[in-house]
C-alpha cells in the first residue's frame, strides 16, 4: 500500500510534479528544434524523467516506473541522435507525461493504471521514427576510470553498459565494506544481497582482497567490495537502498554514450588486478581506494583502445539544495520574530539614547533586514514554474479548437512567494484558456478581419509599484460589452435600467459575475460554469486584483496584480477604541480627514449607510468600531482655539450635564454616540478588488513593516481579521481584512450606486428642495434659514458687539445693527463664547436685524417637507431632516417680532375671523413656501386654501364650496403659472373682483408691468412676511370698501 503521507512518497510526488511541469515545455522546444537537438535540454529532460523512474522503482510504483522507463528510452534515443523528435514522438511523450501526472497525483491507485497504451505509443513512435544508427561500434570495451585517473573496472563491454542504459538503468560504481557497512549494522551479507538485488543488477564486481590474509592470520576487519551496478535509482536513493553512505556511490557519466569516439590520450593508470594495499575503506571515494594513484600499474593490453569514462560525483555539483518548506516556514517565522525584536530594540534605543546602544541597534537593524530579505528569497520562486505549462495548454487547446495561436512569454524570472505561485496556477490557466477559447478567433474569421491567421497571446510578468503584474493579452475578438449586457439581462443578473446606464467598462466587468459564462456553446474547454468569478475570488484571496481592458475586434488584456509576498507587509497602524490595528498598504488607496466642522455636511446617509461624497463619487463608510463591536474613543487633541472650545463643550456634555433636548429624543443612541465622537474623522479609503469603501477609525499612526502571524484556529471565523502582528512596543495588533469587513457588514456597492442615482434624481427635482443656510451654535443643533430671507452674512469679532440697554448691538458701518440671539427666544443652546461670530443679516419691515450664528455649516438643498409639529415654537417654524440630522427652520419674522414687538405694532391686523372675505386662495408650487406662508397667514387669523399650482387654484376657485376674498399666487409654477391664473381670474366676471397679489422672486420692472397689465393688483417680493401681510390687509380692505362691507375698526378709521 502506498501511503501518500509517507514523507518519501510526498517528496516523490513533489519532485515528480516539478519534473513534469518542466517536461512539457521542454518537449515542445525539443520538438521545435527537430533534428537539431539541444543536447543540454534533452539531457535535462532525460535526467528528470530518469530520476522519476528510479524513485518510482524504489517506492514500488510499478506503472509509473515502467512508463517513465519507456519515456526515458525514447529520450535516450533522441539525445543519441538516433531518433528525430518529430511531432509524433513529442505527442507520445506528452501523452505519457499526462498519464504520469495523473498517476502521480493519484499515487494510491497508480499501480492499477494500465500504461500499455502509452508504452505502445512510445514504442511505435520510436520504431517508426528511429533512424538506424551504427551499432557495430558498440562492441567495444571500456574501462571505468576515476577522477584521479585510477580505474575501477576494465574491459567492461560497452555494449553491456549501453544495454543497461538503453533499458533506462544508470551505471554506478558502488563500494561496500562488509564490516562497516554490513556487519557493524547488524546485517548479514544475505541482507545485503537481497537489497542489492532489489534495486538493480551487478554488471561486474570484485572483492578487494588487499589486507586480507590467509588462514594463518587473524580474520580481517575490513572487506572492501566494489561493484559496477546498474540501477534505476538516483544516487542518493541507491545509497539509501543499499545501506551505504552516498559518498560510496559514484554515478558513471551518461555522457559516455553521446561521445562514442574513443576519447584519446587518457591512459588508464591502474588495474583492478592490482593487489593494492588499502587497509580500510576510504569513505570519500572508495573506488579510488583500491587503486591508489601512488602505485601506478601499467594497463592491461587490450585490443581496443578503451574509452575512459569519468564518473560524476555522486552529489552533482549543484547550487541548489532541496529544503523542506516547513523548515523555510520556520526560518521565516523566526526572521519575523527577529524583525519584531529589532523593532522593539530600535524603539528602546531611541528612547534611551546612548550612542553605543544606538550603533548596536543600527547594526542589528541592518543585519536583520538583510537576513529577512535573504530568508524571504528562499521562499521566492520564479513565476516560470507556472508559465511553463502554458505553451502546452495553448498548443493543445488551439489544435483542438482548430485555431492557430502563438504564445509569447516574458518575465519568467520574476520571483514571487511560493504560496502565491502555487495559488495563481489555476486562475492563470483559466485566463489563458479563455484567451484561446474565447479571445482568439478561428483563422477564417481572422482573415476576414484582416488579421494574420495566427493569433498571438502575450503572457508577461513584471514588477510595478511593489507588486507583480501579470498581463495576458490576446489580439482576438475582444469582449463585446453589449452582448454581455444582453446575456446578463437574459439571466436576470441586471435589470434593463441598469443595462442602459452601464458604461462599456462596467459591462465588461459583468464577466466576473458568478455563474456568468460567455461561451456560446458550453465546450469542454471553458464555459463549465466555473467562471471568471472564481478566478477573481482566487486572486483576491491572495491579495491580488484583476483588471480587464478590452476592445471589440482588437483584443483583450487582463492584468492580474499580485503582492510579492504574504508574510511581511507594509501596513498602516491605526487605533480604534483602545486597540491598535493594521491594514495592509495594498488595501489602502487614500486617507481622508474630515474636519469636525465639516463632518455634519460631508457625511450623508443613504439607505442607512453612511456615505462620503468624495470627488463626486459616493463612498460607503464603515465605522470600524461598529464593525468590530467596540467603543470608539475620542482623542482629545487641541487643534485651535475655536475647535477646542467646541470640544470642551462636547466634553461637558459627555460628562452628563446635557440638558434634555427635544432633538435628543429623536435620535437613536448610536447616532448620538457617533455625533458625540464626531470630532475630526479619519477615513481610510480601502480597496478590496473592485470595491472601495471608507473605514472610519479613531486615530492614525505610522506605516510599519509588519510580520503577519496567523490567527489561532479558534479565531478563524472572525472574518474581519486577517491575522495579527506584534508592534514595536510588544503589543499585539490585529490585521484587518478589508474584504471581510465589507462582507461582514453586507456592504453592497451596486446598492449604493443605485442609491446615488436615486439621490441625484431627488436632488434634481427642484420643487422638492429649498436652498437653506444651515448653521449650528452647537455641534448637535442645526438650524436653517431659507437663503431668500438673508440679505447678507457678516463675519465679526466679538469685540464689535456692544450691549446697549440689554440689547446687543453690532457697531457696523457707522450705524448699529441690533443682534438677535436664538437662545434668547427659542429653546436651544446659546452660542459658545468665541472670538469670531457670524451674523446673518435679514431685512424685516424695512429694518435690518442680525442673527448671531457661531458656525455656518453649509448651504444645503433641504427637502421641503417640514415637520411643523415637533419643534414648533416661537421663532421656529418647524424642522426637516437631512442626513439623519434634524434641522430646525427659523421663522425670522416671528423671531424678530419676539425680540422687537414694537416694530410690528403699526401693522394692521384683521379682526374678524368669521368674515368670509378673509378666506385666501394661495397658489404656490414650493411646498416650503406654501407651508410657511400658509402658517403665518393662518396665525394672522386668515383662512387659507393652499394649492400646488395655478391649475389647481383655478379649479378650486370654481368650486362653489369656497368663497374667497383674495388670491395670493406665485408666478413660476408648473401646469398653469401665476400670470395665466391672474389672467383667467381677471377675465372671468365671476372672479374679476378678487384682488390678486403676486409673490415672486422675479421682481424686475418688466415683470411687474407685465403683471399689472394682466390685472395683478400687487406685487410682493419673496418673502417679506410683514410686507405681504400688510398688502393682504390693504387689498382686502379695499375690496370690502368696494363691496361696502367693512369691519368695525375700518369703519372707525374711515370715520376718523
Amino acid at each position: 500500500m502506498i501511503n501518500k503521507n509517507d514523507e518519501l512518497v510526498a517528496s516523490y510526488i513533489e519532485e515528480a510534479n516539478e519534473t513534469l511541469a518542466d517536461f512539457e515545455n521542454d518537449i515542445l522546444i525539443i520538438e521545435e528544434a527537430g533534428a537539431n537537438i539541444d543536447i543540454e535540454l534533452v539531457n535535462k529532460v532525460f535526467r528528470g524523467i530518469h530520476s522519476m523512474k528510479g524513485s518510482a522503482g524504489f517506492l514500488g510504483l510499478v506503472s509509473i516506473g515502467s512508463l517513465a522507463h519507456e519515456a526515458e528510452n525514447v529520450l535516450n534515443l533522441i539525445r543519441n541522435n538516433e531518433l528525430v523528435p518529430t511531432s509524433k514522438v513529442a505527442d507520445a511523450l506528452l501523452r505519457a507525461a499526462d498519464c504520469l501526472r495523473g498517476m502521480t497525483n493519484n499515487i494510491d491507485t497508480s499501480n492499477d493504471v494500465d500504461v500499455t497504451e502509452f508504452v505502445n505509443l512510445l514504442q511505435v513512435a520510436t520504431t517508426e521514427e528511429s533512424t538506424p544508427e551504427v551499432r557495430e561500434s558498440l562492441n567495444r570495451d571500456v574501462d571505468i576510470a576515476l577522477p584521479t585517473g585510477g580505474l575501477a573496472f576494465v574491459m567492461i563491454k560497452e555494449m553491456e553498459l549501453v544495454m543497461w542504459q538503453k533499458q533506462g538503468f544508470d551505471i554506478y560504481v558502488v563500494s561496500i565494506d562488509f564490516f562497516t557497512d554490513i556487519h557493524d549494522k547488524n546485517l548479514t551479507p544475505i541482507d545485503f544481497y537481497k537489497r542489492t538485488n532489489q534495486h538493480g543488477n551487478v554488471v561486474s564486481s570484485y572483492m578487494s582482497t588487499a589486507g586480507i590474509g590467509e588462514l594463518d592470520s587473524e580474520l580481517p576487519d575490513s572487506m572492501n567490495f566494489v561493484m559496477l551496478f546498474a540501477s534505476m535509482l538516483a544516487p542518493a536513493d541507491l545509497a539509501q537502498a543499499i545501506g551505504v553512505p552516498e559518498s560510496q556511490v559514484s554515478h558513471i557519466a551518461t555522457s559516455m554514450q553521446t561521445n562514442w569516439e574513443p576519447s584519446g590520450p587518457k591512459e588508464p593508470s591502474g588495474s583492478v588486478e592490482s593487489e593494492t594495499q588499502t587497509s580500510a575503506p576510504v569513505e570519500a571515494c572508495p573506488v579510488e581506494a583500491i587503486i591508489p594513484a601512488s602505485q601506478p600499474v601499467s594497463p592491461k593490453p587490450k585490443n581496443n583502445k578503451p574509452d575512459t569514462v569519468i564518473p560524476t560525483s555522486s552529489t552533482p555539483a549543484s547550487t541548489n539544495l532541496r529544503v523542506n518548506v516547513k523548515v523555510l516556514d520556520r526560518l521565516m517565522n523566526l526572521a519575523g520574530e527577529l524583525v519584531l525584536g529589532r523593532n522593539q530594540l530600535l524603539q528602546e534605543a531611541s528612547d534611551n539614547s546612548s550612542l553605543g546602544m544606538e550603533s548596536v541597534a543600527n547594526r542589528i537593524d541592518q543585519v536583520t533586514s538583510e537576513l529577512q530579505d535573504a530568508i524571504m528569497q528562499t521562499r521566492m520562486q520564479a513565476i516560470g514554474t507556472v508559465f511553463n505549462k502554458f505553451p502546452r495548454i495553448v498548443r493543445d487547446l488551439s489544435s483542438q479548437l482548430g485555431k492557430e495561436c502563438e504564445l509569447t512569454i516574458d518575465g519568467k524570472d520574476v520571483e514571487m512567494d511560493k504560496t502565491i505561485i502555487e495559488a495563481i496556477g489555476d486562475p492563470l490557466t483559466h485566463l489563458i484558456r479563455n484567451s484561446v477559447d474565447h479571445g482568439i478567433e478561428d483563422p477564417a474569421t481572422r482573415k476576414q478581419r484582416r488579421k494574420s491567421p495566427s493569433g498571438t497571446i502575450k503572457l508577461k510578468a513584471y514588477h510595478q509599484a511593489g507588486k507583480v503584474n501579470i498581463s495576458i493579452s490576446d489580439d482576438g475578438g475582444g469582449i463585446d460589452g453589449e452582448k454581455l449586457k444582453e446575456k446578463a439581462l437574459e439571466r436576470g443578473i441586471i435589470t434593463s435600467d441598469q443595462a442602459a446606464d452601464m458604461t462599456h467598462r462596467e459591462a465588461v466587468k459583468l464577466i466576473f459575475h458568478p455563474g456568468f459564462s460567455m461561451a456560446k456553446v458550453v465546450s469542454d474547454v471553458s464555459g463549465r460554469g466555473v467562471g471568471m468569478d472564481v478566478v477573481r475570488t482566487n486572486i483576491e484571496e491572495i491579495g491580488g486584483t484583476v483588471e480587464v481592458d478590452t476592445e471589440v475586434g482588437v483584443g483583450t488584456t487582463i492584468v492580474v496584480k499580485l503582492p510579492l509576498t504574504l508574510a511581511i507587509m507594509p501596513s498602516l497602524v491605526l487605533r480604534c477604541g483602545q486597540d491598535r490595528f493594521a491594514i495592509p498598504q495594498v488595501n489602502i488607496s487614500e486617507l481622508v480627514r474630515i474636519k469636525a466642522s465639516n463632518v455634519a455636511t460631508t457625511i450623508e446617509k443613504i439607505k442607512n449607510i453612511e456615505v462620503l461624497r468624495l470627488r463626486g463619487k459616493l463612498l460607503p463608510l464603515v465605522r470600524l468600531s461598529n464593525a468590530l463591536g467596540i467603543t470608539s474613543q475620542f482623542y482629545d487633541r487641541k487643534i485651535d482655539d475655536l475647535e477646542d472650545n467646541q470640544r470642551a463643550q462636547i466634553a461637558d456634555r459627555r460628562s452628563g450635564q446635557e440638558p434634555v433636548q427635544a432633538v435628543a429624543d429623536l435620535r437613536s443612541g448610536q447616532d448620538r454616540r457617533e455625533n458625540t465622537v464626531a470630532g475630526a474623522l479619519n477615513i481610510i479609503v480601502v480597496e478590496s478588488g473592485h470595491f472601495h469603501y471608507g473605514l472610519i477609525v479613531d486615530e492614525l499612526f505610522d506605516n510599519k513593516e509588519i510580520v503577519v502571524k496567523p490567527l489561532g484556529k479558534h479565531l478563524k471565523d472572525c472574518v474581519c481579521l486577517a491575522g495579527a502582528t506584534i508592534l514595536g512596543d510588544g503589543m499585539v495588533a490585529l490585521i484587518l481584512d478589508v474584504a471581510g469587513i465589507a462582507s461582514h457588514l453586507n456592504l453592497i456597492m451596486p446598492d449604493t450606486e443605485q442609491a446615488l442615482e436615486d439621490k441625484a434624481r431627488a436632488d434634481s427635482q427642484d420643487s422638492e428642495t429649498q436652498s437653506t443656510l444651515v448653521f449650528a451654535n452647537d455641534p448637535e443643533e442645526f438650524f436653517g434659514v431659507p437663503v431668500e430671507f438673508i440679505s447678507r452674512i457678516e463675519r465679526i469679532r466679538a469685540s464689535q458687539i456692544d450691549s446697549v440697554g440689554g440689547q446687543d448691538v453690532l457697531q457696523y458701518r457707522g450705524s448699529s445693527l441690533p443682534l438677535l440671539h436664538l437662545a434668547d427666544h427659542a429653546r436651544c443652546k446659546p452660542e459658545p463664547e468665541a472670538a469670531v461670530y457670524n451674523v446673518i443679516v435679514f431685512k424685516i419691515s424695512g429694518k435690518e436685524i442680525g442673527l448671531v450664528a457661531s458656525n455656518l455649516v453649509d448651504i444645503s438643498e433641504l427637502p421641503v417637507h417640514i415637520d411643523t409639529v415637533t419643534f414648533r415654537q416661537t421663532g421656529i417654524i418647524g424642522s426637516t431632516i437631512q442626513n439623519e440630522k434634524a434641522i430646525r427652520l427659523i421663522d425670522v419674522f416671528e423671531l424678530t417680532e419676539a425680540a422687537h414687538p414694537e416694530w410690528f405694532t403699526q401693522r394692521e391686523t384683521t379682526e374678524s375671523k368669521e368674515n368670509k372675505s378673509n378666506v385666501i386662495l394661495f397658489a404656490e408650487d414650493s411646498s416650503f413656501f406654501r407651508q410657511q406662508v400658509t402658517n403665518f397667514l393662518q396665525s394672522e387669523g386668515y383662512e387659507v386654501v393652499a394649492c400646488e399650482d395655478g391649475q389647481i387654484a383655478w379649479d378650486t376657485l370654481q368650486d362653489p364650496e369656497h368663497q374667497f376674498g383674495l388670491v395670493v399666487t406665485d408666478i413660476e409654477m408648473p401646469n398653469m403659472d401665476g400670470l395665466e391664473l391672474a389672467r383667467n381670474i381677471k377675465s372671468d366676471p365671476m372672479f374679476a373682483h378678487l384682488p390678486v397679489i403676486a409673490v415672486t422672486s422675479l421682481a424686475g420692472q418688466d415683470d411687474i408691468e407685465k403683471g399689472m397689465k394682466i390685472g395683478i393688483d400687487d406685487y410682493q417680493v419673496k418673502l417679506d412676511r410683514d410686507m405681504l401681510l400688510a398688502a393682504i390687509a390693504k387689498h382686502l380692505k379695499a375690496a370690502r370698501l368696494k363691496s361696502g362691507v367693512l369691519t368695525n375698526s375700518e369703519k372707525h378709521q374711515i370715520r376718523n
Binding site: T188, T196, L215, L219, P220, M223, F225
Partner: protein
C-alpha cells in the same frame, strides 16, 4: 565446530551447522588451518545446515580460498540456499572457487 563428513586423500568435506559468525568464525578458521596444515588441499564445505553467515564468516571463505589457492588446492562450497549461492555469485566468489547449489 563442524562435523567431518569424510576424509579421502587430501580431500575433506565439512558439514558445519548453526551459524558461522563473528562468535565462532575464528574457531572455524583455526579448524581449517589445522586441516590445511595437515596437508589437506581440497576442502568442500557443505552449508546446508548453516542458517546464518555474517561478514566475518564470509571472510573465512576468502582466506580459506586464498590459502588453498596458494598451495595449489581448491575450495568448494555447497549450499541449498539459493540466496547464499546468489550472494556468492554476486560477489564473484564463484569465479574463484566452486559454488555448488545442492537440491
Amino acid at each position: 565446530m563442524s562435523e567431518h563428513v569424510g576424509i579421502q586423500d587430501k580431500n575433506i568435506e565439512l558439514n558445519p551447522d548453526g551459524k558461522i559468525t563473528a562468535a565462532n568464525a575464528d574457531e572455524f578458521r583455526q579448524e581449517l588451518l589445522e586441516l590445511v596444515e595437515s596437508g589437506i588441499l581440497q576442502i568442500t564445505i557443505n552449508l546446508n545446515n548453516v542458517d546464518m553467515i555474517d561478514s566475518k564468516g564470509l571472510a573465512v571463505f576468502i582466506v580459506c580460498h586464498k590459502t588453498l589457492a596458494a598451495k595449489g588446492g581448491s575450495l568448494t562450497v555447497i549450499s541449498d540456499n539459493e540466496e547464499l549461492c546468489n550472494l556468492f555469485h554476486l560477489m564473484r566468489f564463484d569465479e574463484h572457487f566452486a559454488v555448488v547449489k545442492s537440491e
